[in-house]
Symmetry: C3
Subunit: 159 residues, 3 copies
């Protein structure tokens, strides 16, 4: 019996370009028959937010974080050359021209390929994000679950 190889990515960053890199590697690894997990923590959770407003009860701080953070992957900024939102427009322009899949589609593709998308419950609490606000069909876990996957992983990355 040969075990499947695994790829385990921690997506910490809330930048559009870094999340793209994470999802491109993840989709590639799934195509190579790896078992793939993306563990979303801190600002990386924003890639899992639904783009509509979801009415949920929150404390004051949590409401502020919710308002200031991008609602969904399409609204995330760039890690470099963001230029107050002009950079993402430029990147999306050249992506379209070169037929590169935009981030929301990369995430859809990951779900279709059975990549395990995990939201870190501890940082959901910190940033005041609730399950209703995140995409459907994802999992919820903590650092213990990440380590259980990663300790036998082939490709482990922190992005």
């Amino acid at each position: 019996m040969t075990e499947k190889k695994t790829t385990n990515i921690i997506l910490f960053s809330g930048d559009y370009d870094k999340a793209m890199a994470a999802y491109i590697i993840a989709n590639g690894a799934a195509a190579y028959d790896h078992e793939v997990t993306i563990f979303h923590t801190f600002w990386g959770l924003n890639a899992l937010r639904k783009d509509e407003h979801i009415p949920v009860k929150k404390g004051f701080m949590e409401k502020m974080f919710g308002k200031m953070m991008p609602r969904g992957s399409d609204k995330m900024g760039l890690s470099s050359m963001n230029f107050a939102g002009f950079g993402p427009k430029m990147i999306k322009g050249v992506m379209k021209k070169h037929n590169v899949m935009p981030l929301p589609q990369l995430i859809e593709m990951a779900q279709e390929q059975d990549i395990k998308l995990v939201a870190c419950t501890m940082t959901m609490d910190l940033l005041g994000l609730q399950k209703e606000e995140l995409l459907d069909n994802i999992e919820y876990a903590g650092v213990a679950a990440y380590l259980a996957d990663a300790e036998d992983g082939n490709v482990n990355l922190f992005i």
Copy 2:
């Protein structure tokens, strides 16, 4: 004879949130009986700085770096939404509310769990940091020592 699994983290970043992620993973791995090393390089060295002023002789450049960099983990900023220091206050507020350990305690816990905290000697030279300014009971090493640990590591991360 089964060997212990190992986790080897390079902490390059001087951001409060990234250092938190590093120390939460490290403490988790130690609880799972991994041998854990955090190799602090560049801005990550600031997590090891003592919070008081330590009088040491320095060149002009080294003095400037010393003044501009945060003195200790509690004074570090956020990688995202820092808002000139307001972001860290918000995060620390919600951390307290949700009983999440602040960074200085996470570092103490790491030392209690015998996690090896290493300061990169080459970047200490560059940033003009001296042993007297860093926490007690840490180790000093270079990239060769990191590689010797990491080449047989289970979870290797660059944060």
Copy 3:
């Protein structure tokens, strides 16, 4: 037959200090007889740009990216304390004083040690970078080639 250990670094960042860390680890690993690959993607491609202006035909967006991004490793900024270009001057000053190799020499050394420098073709398209603009003697590949190397790698890092 014992196989060589391998180190596989994704250099995503276009920051001088992060690229330095990547190349110092890579050169160290090569000295330890690892097979080493640095896969340059997104802003990390700038480390491979030649420093002179290379006349090539480009679309409008690609021309803008080309103008705004640093031309070559020596012109890259810092991830922290950049201070509009003053930070890199300071760092280079202390590097000289402490005999630390500047980034362009670290890259030369990597080529002399037969480290495989790869440019990600997909992000070259996005940023409008053409082969003529990048260093000689590098390779061109995509995420599939990265994964083929990394899935059996010893030290895999995303920088």
